[in-house]
């Protein structure tokens, strides 16, 4: 026992020094150039902030893609000469676009043309019908791309609002986690993220009669019926399906004023500007509908051709609405709608309160445990208390180095560790006591106390560690935060009990050579 091997001494000291070095920056007000700048990352529940779990409605992407395939197919068959007739219509059924009733003589040409639409499409025919379907891989790839694009757009929108250091990452196959430290009231951001912001310009079909369309439900095939929401009323419009220009061509959008009214001004890229110029030249004195997410924002009359690639969106906006509209237009449209599955927001007051409460509980718990240990075991209890201090230092160091996040349940884990960490020491000390009672000399009592307690310590700590690691792996939110500190606490308490207190006892033995143990 007195021959505590050199390597073990070195190892113990190295770990302790490492712990002090890496935990220290957490206790300094300013960062020091001599110490690693690693700090424990606080969870949103402690520093305050908003956590949002979003789901990308990827099925909408697939649906939209199939819709566009439908209209492309229609064009391929009808517009190119010779026109191919189909009597059964074009419909989307599940994930397949079906064209029915094609003249057998035209089948081959039809297949040939439809095959040019998209190389990920599998085009087959059953009797006189043609089936167009995406391969599984292509569907998957499209979904993943939609998620990635969504993350990009979410990031841009969040960045534009000026949130500092947001974390935005994918979770699972179609979810996005957005964490925004310091955000107390995320309603505006939620509203921004809730908009798809697909901007399209359509010409209004002036020839169609809106009232007839509403009454009969019949709209010319080239057109569609959409509405403008205005002070609780819906104003109907019939617009051509064809998109004149879309929001993807926008390079900038700004909130501004015209005649005292808040409006959004925008600028197209070169190609968008050209198209816009041509269309407005061809359609002077006709109305151009500005459509955002399937709703008409406004449908102004084109008074003069708009050259130069910039324009304005007027409407019944508040200033905040123009600011937000300009923001989402700048950041780009989401490929699919987002829904908010979960929100957890903690205000700065509660976060600070939680930290203060956690600190106080840790401190009081720590002092009480130390007093109790010293009262029960005297000098050895004091050594166990030193081990406990290092235990906490090592947990802080591990948290800092591994970049783990400390949450409120995590603090609970630390406090629990304070209570449980002394267990290993208690096991050893009780064993030593027993050996002393059996009449052993101090050195031999300590030696066999350690040896006998060791298997028990390993068995009991490993079982708890197993539970903690499983919690970490399969748990979510608070469970995870708790498991992090609990498992770190178990590992460091095993180290401090087996290596550190032993080291302290060895030094004491060598110095004093006691004939009787104070236990």
């Amino acid at each position: 026992m007195v021959n505590y091997p050199r390597w073990a001494i070195a190892f113990t000291l190295i770990i302790c020094v490492w712990g002090i070095v890496f935990a220290s920056s957490n206790f300094l007000r300013e960062s020091s150039q001599f110490l690693p700048d690693s700090k424990v990352r606080l969870g949103l529940d402690l520093q305050g902030g908003a956590h949002l779990l979003l789901e990308v409605e990827v099925d909408e992407v697939v649906k939209a893609t199939l819709e566009s395939i439908e209209s492309l197919a229609r064009r391929e068959l009808r517009r190119r000469k010779p026109r191919i007739k189909y009597t059964g219509g074009i419909r989307t059924e599940g994930n397949t676009v079906v064209i029915r009733g094609i003249n057998p003589g035209d089948l081959e040409t039809a297949l040939e043309r439809l095959n040019t639409i998209d190389r990920d499409l599998v085009v087959t025919n059953v009797d006189n019908s043609i089936l167009m379907k995406f391969t599984k891989e292509a569907l998957l790839a499209r979904r993943q791309r939609a998620i990635e694009q969504s993350i990009e757009v979410v990031r841009r929108r969040v960045d534009e609002t000026g949130v500092s250091e947001p974390t935005i990452q994918q979770q699972g196959s179609k979810r996005i986690i957005v964490q925004m430290p310091g955000i107390e009231d995320p309603e505006r951001i939620k509203k921004l993220l809730g908009q798809t912001a697909k901007l399209n310009f359509h010409m209004v079909n002036e020839e169609a009669d809106v009232s007839v369309a509403i009454r009969t439900g019949v709209v010319p095939p080239s057109s569609k019926l959409i509405y403008e929401e205005n002070a609780g009323q819906n104003i109907p419009y019939i617009v051509y399906r064809e998109v004149v220009v879309n929001g993807e061509r926008l390079v900038d959008a700004q909130a501004t004023f015209q005649d005292g009214q808040p409006i959004v001004s925008f600028r197209f890229d070169a190609q968008g500007g050209q198209t816009f110029g041509r269309v407005t030249t061809e359609n002077v004195n006709k109305r151009l509908a500005i459509v955002l997410d399937g709703k008409v924002v406004s449908a102004p009359n084109i008074q003069t051709p708009i050259m130069g690639g910039s324009g304005i969106i007027t409407g019944r906006f508040t200033v905040q609405e123009t600011v937000d509209l300009a923001l989402v237009l700048r950041a780009g449209a989401l490929p699919a709608p987002l829904i908010i599955l979960e929100e957890r927001t903690v205000g700065p007051g509660l976060g600070a309160d939680s930290i203060a409460a956690g600190k106080l509980a840790s401190l009081v718990g720590f002092i009480a445990v130390v007093v109790f240990m010293v009262a029960s075991y005297g000098l050895f209890g004091f050594m166990a208390a030193i081990a406990l201090v290092f235990n906490l230092i090592l947990i802080m160091a591990l948290l800092s180095v591994l970049g783990a996040t400390l949450t409120l349940p995590g603090i609970a884990g630390i406090v629990l560790t304070i209570g449980m960490a002394v267990d290993a020491n208690v096991l050893i000390l009780e064993r030593i006591k027993e050996e002393v009672r059996n009449g052993r000399s101090p050195i031999s009592a300590i030696d066999s106390g350690y040896r006998r307690a060791l298997t028990t310590i390993i068995d009991s700590n490993l079982t708890t560690l197993i539970a903690a690691l499983l919690l970490f792996n399969f748990g979510t939110g608070p469970i995870k935060g708790f498991a992090v500190t609990l498992s770190m606490g178990i590992v460091s308490s095993m180290f401090t009990a087996i290596m550190l207190t032993r080291f302290l006892i060895v030094i004491w033995l060598r110095q004093k050579r006691p004939s009787k143990l104070p236990i």
């Binding site: 779990l53 789901e55 107390e184 009231d185 309603e187 939620k190 829904i339 908010i340 599955l341 979960e342 929100e343 957890r344 927001t345 903690v346 205000g347 007051g349 939680s354 409460a357 509980a361 718990g365 009480a368 445990v369 109790f372 240990m373 009262a375 029960s376 005297g378 409120l408 349940p409 603090i411 609970a412 406090v415 629990l416 449980m420 002394v422 267990d423 208690v426 096991l427 009780e430 027993e434 006998r452 028990t456 009991s460 490993l462 079982t463 708890t464 197993i466 539970a467 903690a468 499983l470 919690l471 792996n473 399969f474 748990g475 979510t476 608070p478 469970i479 498991a483 609990l486 236990i519």
Partner: protein
């Protein structure tokens, strides 16, 4: 210096002999737990049930009655309003909204609008939609079952099968009665509670393993002692440690419960109960269970004879 001695040395308490009483008590506790669970059910938090929770600090002491009236008329179904910690702090709970995730978000907006200027700071806003709630339940059940399973396997490998079965019985006893505690008291059962239940499991198993280790050791040392005497001896010899560790853990937990703030208070209560029940079950359930399952020296030494060499005393 005179040291504090809470447990006298060389106690000779007949723990195992009290097992009819202990088993009766445990069965009663479990029956109460299951009964309360079936009759009253758990007071599930929004983590599992879905819904909205808003903690708001008001300008000046809150008029709970008035708030209840205003929020109750928003058409959001069941709305609970209660004081939280101090008179300026109000906790609002709204049930899961029909109409999916969107309705849930609209409810948050409606409440915040209704509160208007009376809100000084939104201390906490949690909204969990129906999808996530179901998933969280599944994840929690999975985590608990896996943890229990893994512990069982570990003990099975390290000890004899009787130990594994005894440990799992003690563990299930603790988990059941803790869930029962939540059913009886109607304290909120949420994700943090699941973490508490699992830690209780960890603590309880830790405690059990310490005594089991001692049983194994004494089995090898005392070849003549009857099994009940040997079990009693093992419990008595570890009693001081069992007690001390429980006390230090309880000290820390009481600090957490009284000073750790309202959010983790329920969690701390669960843990305190868990330490008490875990300590009880290690002594009065886990060890006597070895007798019930007929632990014998033969079954033990036959498979562990290889390690006999290291236990010279």
């Amino acid at each position: 210096m005179r040291l504090l001695t809470l447990i006298p040395t060389n106690t000779k308490i007949d723990f195992v002999g009290k097992r009819p009483f202990a088993f009766g008590l445990s069965i009663l506790l479990i029956l109460i737990s299951i009964g309360a669970f079936l009759v009253q059910g758990l007071n599930l938090g929004i983590d599992f049930r879905g819904g909205v929770l808003i903690e708001v600090e008001t300008n000046g002491p809150a008029n709970i009655e008035k708030l209840r009236d205003v929020l109750g008329n928003l058409g959001l179904g069941e709305v609970q309003v209660q004081e939280f910690g101090n008179p300026n702090d109000v906790l609002i709970r709204v049930q899961q909204q029909d109409g999916g995730e969107k309705a849930q978000q609209d409810a948050v907006i409606a409440i915040k609008e209704a509160l208007g200027d009376s809100a000084k700071e939104y201390r906490r806003t949690e909204s969990v939609g129906p999808t996530v709630g179901t998933e969280l339940i599944r994840a929690a059940v999975l985590a608990v079952s896996l943890a229990l399973g893994a512990i069982l396997i570990y003990i099975w490998i390290r000890f004899e099968w009787q130990f594994g079965v005894g440990a799992i019985i003690a563990l299930s006893h603790d988990v059941l009665t803790t869930v029962g505690l939540f059913a009886v008291t109607q304290l909120e059962f949420n994700l943090a509670t699941v973490a508490a239940v699992l830690t209780i499991a960890g603590y309880s198993i830790n405690d059990t393993v310490v005594i089991y280790d001692r049983v194994r050791e004494e089995l090898r040392r005392y070849k003549k002692l009857s099994i009940p005497d040997l079990l009693n001896l093992s419990i008595n010899r570890t009693l001081s440690r069992t007690f001390l560790t429980s006390v230090t853990t309880l000290i820390a937990l009481v600090a957490l419960a009284t000073l750790g703030g309202p959010i983790i208070r329920d969690f701390s209560y669960a843990m305190i109960w868990g330490v008490l029940i875990g300590t009880y079950s290690s002594i009065f359930v886990a060890v006597p269970a070895l007798l019930v399952f007929k632990l014998s020296r033969e079954s033990f030494s036959s498979s562990n004879s290889g390690s006999e060499g290291e236990i010279k005393s």
